[in-house]
Symmetry: C3
Subunit: 643 residues, 3 copies
Amino acid sequence: MIQLGAAYYPELWDEKEIEQDIERCRAYGLRVLRIGEFAWGRMEPTEGHFDLDWLARIVDRLHAAGLSVILCTPTCTPPRRLLNKYPEMRQMSPAGVREAVSSRCHTCKTSPLMRQKNREVTEHLARRFGSHPAVVGWQIDNELYIYREGCYCPLCRAAFRSYLKAQYGTVAELNRRWGMARWSLDYASFDEVEPPLPDEWRHPSLRTVWRRFQEAQICDYAREQADILHRYTKAPVGTDMMPMNTLSYYDMNRAMDVVMFNHYDTAARLPLTTFYYDFARATLDRPFWVTETQVGWNGSEFAENGYRPAGNCRINSWLPIAHGAEKNLYWLFRTPQNGHELAHGALISTAGRPYRVSEEVQRTASELDSCTDFLEHSRVRSQIAIHYSSVAQNNIYSAPMLKDFHYTQVLNECFYAPLRHCNVDIIDTPHALDGYRVVFSPFLTTIDEDLQARMEQWVRAGGTWIVGPMSGYMTADTSKFSDSPYPFPERLAGVYVKYQRPIANDVWHAAWENGDQLGISLCYDALEPTDSRPLAFYRGDEFDGYAVITERKVGDGRVILLGSVPDAAGIRQLAGLPPIAAASENIDLIERSGDRAGILATEVENRTGTLVLPTRYRDLLTGDIKSGDITLAPYEVLVLERM
Amino acid sequence: MIQLGAAYYPELWDEKEIEQDIERCRAYGLRVLRIGEFAWGRMEPTEGHFDLDWLARIVDRLHAAGLSVILCTPTCTPPRRLLNKYPEMRQMSPAGVREAVSSRCHTCKTSPLMRQKNREVTEHLARRFGSHPAVVGWQIDNELYIYREGCYCPLCRAAFRSYLKAQYGTVAELNRRWGMARWSLDYASFDEVEPPLPDEWRHPSLRTVWRRFQEAQICDYAREQADILHRYTKAPVGTDMMPMNTLSYYDMNRAMDVVMFNHYDTAARLPLTTFYYDFARATLDRPFWVTETQVGWNGSEFAENGYRPAGNCRINSWLPIAHGAEKNLYWLFRTPQNGHELAHGALISTAGRPYRVSEEVQRTASELDSCTDFLEHSRVRSQIAIHYSSVAQNNIYSAPMLKDFHYTQVLNECFYAPLRHCNVDIIDTPHALDGYRVVFSPFLTTIDEDLQARMEQWVRAGGTWIVGPMSGYMTADTSKFSDSPYPFPERLAGVYVKYQRPIANDVWHAAWENGDQLGISLCYDALEPTDSRPLAFYRGDEFDGYAVITERKVGDGRVILLGSVPDAAGIRQLAGLPPIAAASENIDLIERSGDRAGILATEVENRTGTLVLPTRYRDLLTGDIKSGDITLAPYEVLVLERM
Amino acid sequence: MIQLGAAYYPELWDEKEIEQDIERCRAYGLRVLRIGEFAWGRMEPTEGHFDLDWLARIVDRLHAAGLSVILCTPTCTPPRRLLNKYPEMRQMSPAGVREAVSSRCHTCKTSPLMRQKNREVTEHLARRFGSHPAVVGWQIDNELYIYREGCYCPLCRAAFRSYLKAQYGTVAELNRRWGMARWSLDYASFDEVEPPLPDEWRHPSLRTVWRRFQEAQICDYAREQADILHRYTKAPVGTDMMPMNTLSYYDMNRAMDVVMFNHYDTAARLPLTTFYYDFARATLDRPFWVTETQVGWNGSEFAENGYRPAGNCRINSWLPIAHGAEKNLYWLFRTPQNGHELAHGALISTAGRPYRVSEEVQRTASELDSCTDFLEHSRVRSQIAIHYSSVAQNNIYSAPMLKDFHYTQVLNECFYAPLRHCNVDIIDTPHALDGYRVVFSPFLTTIDEDLQARMEQWVRAGGTWIVGPMSGYMTADTSKFSDSPYPFPERLAGVYVKYQRPIANDVWHAAWENGDQLGISLCYDALEPTDSRPLAFYRGDEFDGYAVITERKVGDGRVILLGSVPDAAGIRQLAGLPPIAAASENIDLIERSGDRAGILATEVENRTGTLVLPTRYRDLLTGDIKSGDITLAPYEVLVLERM
């Protein structure tokens, strides 16, 4: 069901206000409310005694008003009373101090007591509401990821050591794979291993593996709740995640039914948000939900996140739907009267009044109604994929190798953005490769043996693998190789890496074989083709004449090795697939296919754009027939069904 | 008595140097020295045994030399020995660590022992010097305000809980008024309330009330000393305060006889310093003292605070006098040989030599002599007041609502500065409204019931109240309202606030009714007049056609509601009162009236200025008769008595 | 022996890799490897049992391959096991926390146990390798200086108090000399003295003396090892020091035979690096060793330190040799596979491959071969010296007096750089003055009685002393004088310092006696010649007409007092000595004399330069005869022997 919705906190408002809020909700076209997220205090007013009657009244009331409910487990905000009584439920800082009971998301994910308390409240909720007709989905906890540097409590330290033992077997093996001999830092036993302190000189391997351990705890913590919910409900279960793939979306969503995604991007970043939509859609290969996005502005103690021009909220609501979401929920419905996030924008102000921007939500809701059938009977399918790896994210966090290097940003801006006129899947390495014709793997630090085998097989079967720069150059433990800068790509691509240089911006230049200029950036490897042919060369300066891009035929496919980051035109040329349609740069295009088929074209930069339609389409928002040269107004969206 | 003076630390110098310093003091025209401030160590050389003989010799010697004395209680620097013996005298950090004994002002304001030791030393001083003819004033402690985040010792925590109990009665009421249900943070009892930690996600109400509590302790701490001093002396008692109204000037000075004010503004900020003079003068409605300002430059470990051009020191000395001060004291007379603040400017260098700028002090002293009678027989009276609220300051500290919002700076630069050619009082909300024709109340976050009644009564009696933007929108506990963005102003101004937008700079425009352009900034409310008339409108963009300023007649007066911050011309137009005289922007004007009357005109931007005198005046510095068009040289001051 | 070399860590590589690395080493022209630095863990695998056989095999193997060895004591990286067993070996933070066992250089320099363990491993090494023919030098520890703020453990605190007692005798004397009365901070006994905490308001004297104490501990710690080594070896002993003279190079090197110097300057800073070469050469008046510099780039977690253009590495290798080094070693030979500093540049990559820049090392090695005899039979001798004082460094660290004042940077850029075409020694105050014709002493905060006597004697014997600005104005304890801003220079220069002003940049101007303009900066004293003649005057503004530079004949010599920092032309004019040759600004010139004689001319800014040779020279790199006008290509070096 394509729906707009919002987060609502009925525990903060009296009955009269709730009644009015329900009316406002309907008036503005919202169909689903996400509730319960932080209400553990009301659900378990004294330890072990649960009161869900108040919540049942709300759910029934919403149901009666024709509204759906996404119900949340409130496990990110245990009641103060529990946290004070059982300090072990709270995360411990690197300095050994328990988190103050002052906000949220401060729990230890290892603590058996925390886990037990979670299971209790989750089971009570699931039993009571698992088959309620209003409940269309379940959300576990809230924005799970590593807070600060993780939990340093004794339970986590002990679990970390067990984790290491399971991974490495012997401490000698760990010493070897982490290179601990270097500064006489060899561990004598696993008991000597301590988590990394934030202010110490950071050891990349220790740092990487500590994060991986913490993330494993988080996934297991969420899976426990999912297992309980699945016993009581048929509605999809998920957990809302922030736009980062540090904690692997794939690991986390293995236990889930739907990918839930939160983001708070600025107006200026609007064109870049689709990167995550294409990732969220691909993760479980099914429609995802945007569980949180803003109506007007962010604000904890003050309003921020820049100015959102007229029309931007509407497009921010349309884009995820275009790219495969089936729900878009705002945070939040109504700003509270006091406490944290007092300055946050919402659909309805504290004083119960809508904002001007709320009218854009209203309009979007009504537009969606006219397209629901089309959207629900068409899917997004891509021939191009870009690897976006949680393991690489983690490696780069521990050892970025390049200065000011932001993995996600580079993937988004340098590799994904140039392909805006094609359907693209953003996938992590576990994703199956079937159906893709082209796969980009830039800065994919680690290519394990399984992936090596799968990539080679897929290439031999006809795929074009565009790999590098800086791919396959370290283990998942953030350790480099002594025989080649990146053994697998170097071998498969048939090259010898002659020189490397990680600092050279504004100095190096390159050109294609035919002499056309090629922009390059970020890092620079000078390649000597051994069993491959050069596609582009360095021009001038130290690497003059060495190849920067090479191509090798492997089976029915090709391996293209990148020695640097090509410019946008270079990315498009290497991808080699035709666009959905000719369009100006500011038009986001998505092709939908299935029972019904067509194109969604969205202007994302608040200026006029152009589009050339290959055949005749019906614009589902206006009913007009369109073909040929089209002009889009700033922030216009076209839902075009092929006729 | 109009006097120049300085801080002096005789405990640092031997007798020979002191004799020379007295001569230097007289030579440079200083008439009063402020002493004793940090000398507790010399006053109580062993615990419980006081030695004030050395100080008496100094005071007698100064008296004999014709110099007055402001005597300070040394309570901000207890002797190391006491602080080591009684750790409870020292402030405790949020992490539970007592302040190191390493500088000053590090005491706990709650500790009964600290209070007792304070009383002892104060009483000894008061008894010995209370009626000494040289002593013209008493200063309590030094620059009292919340250091760092306040004191987190067990005594303060306990007192905080008692304070909350007294304020809220029950913990349920506190939970309700602070909205603690939101993240399951309800307190089960007052014992669970902890002060806010600096690195935690800040709860606005907790943060606000914690500050209010700490400030109440500080006021009580100072009041105790004032009570003792008042038993022994007839000289005025005060405490020197920094330029911020976080700790309320009104609360603090209720127990005092004279407002003492310290400031260290740069040359560039000179035109803005008068804001605080107009505030200090209004607080007790009597002449105030500048107890600290710099001669040349600031400097703890290095000289700083920018370059002070020739003439600036003189004007920095004249401006407070013009605006109603009767003393201006420099910090400090002579730089010490070692220790903290080794690089600070002074009248006399460590080596006993004056600076070039010291000659400006000398000149000012001699000029003041020729105007003393005029200044002492005239007062500053204002028809315009601007509300500058300690409660708002505190609310905004906890929840600024607008990004990069500095309350004092906005009041000073956007509301006060445009009125430079009128006498203006800067008042806090307890101040009586009688005598004012126009009152501005911008960003006055909280308008309690008492103030509501007083404002309405004053308006009905003929006052013009220019209120907003963002006034009356929260309680003193930093909690917003559920029925209106700002119930009282909205009602009294006869408007309905249609939309709000806290982010829009460089996007929004406005115009007066007649079409003239009006600059607006910072925040944007779209107003619908219900029982009022619009004065100005938004032009273009989302709020096009909505009112931004409205006016309503109420009784014999008017309420003007601001939906945004008007530009300088707008402020002057709304104030509607004629200037003291026509003058260029760089001329600060003050009108003095009483037994003698006239105008002080001061050039404050180091460039040529102009002034048109409405009648004939005598310039008391030169004896010249002036009228009509006048040109002022850079940094010129004219003391013009009406003829 | 003029040699290139590198740091190598054989403990990280297996035998096969080591064999290959030795071949690579020889192929790239390296002659010496620095080993053992961090290998304590391998040297003492269990407490008290030493295994040096593996190391002996390496040393023998290197010897067999014709390579020399600099052997390091590994005392900056005790094995984890020891550090865990004996926490006292680890430095304690100001908050009382022991350093984590996570990196290196974290030891307490006071701990008797740490000292004992150091002596043991040093003695084992010395006994085994003291007379090994491959070992051409010994390095003690690594980059010894005050880490963070120093060690705050109980042992250090107790030793600090003993140190103070030895320095001041009585606590009353300490109170007096530190001015502790000021804020009632008098100590009752030495037991009350605590080291300064980083976040407290810093007391200059406490801060200075605490550093001086810590540095005394470090020197003593290194001296202990030197004493042991000297019992077993005839090879020179040193300790590699970073480019800062906080910990006095003179104090430290008193126990050493050779100054070892590490630096990691960027390409842009290349012209400034020679300052430290001229300092390192002068310290022991003998050739020094560059023990660490980079080949390509720095990198802990990411590559940094900017782009190094082609040719820069070669010049960075040549410059120290030109200025008197006899070894230049890179850090490092080969980047490790994992752990800290994973992204660091090297001669050979982790994968065992050279970089393009490595070829510059290869070229330099071969060039040096053709000049070795010339370089070994000529020395650098200077007629000009600039005082660069560790005491001043420390004073300025505690009380910079001027904002953003960087002592070393000002000396380097404002005083040293203008004299690039002369031989210059950078000396600390203990250095003998014989042989110098001109000595500059800018910002020499402290001039103790011994130096006063030596300077006056040297001036009377004919020297030209250019002193100031801001010299001799405080004691070594960071305490100023009460009778003169700087008693000794004021007296010896025959002036009266009328005014001082530490802030005035872009405001003040000056001119020479003949009216020519003179640029001045940073600080401004207005001088009245009493028994001297003015050389330059302030022009305009407040100090108009006062002298800014004065000159007085004293005996056969002269004292020139600076009231400000003169511009580059001014520095050259005051120095008054002819350049080695006329050359453009971008040419670094060094004159070598002795058995063989000539000039080294190096282009240091990567652009074309010019040089006028006074006579005929043979270029030892090309064999060409050169004379008259010469053009140097970017980054060209000429080794010119006089014919």
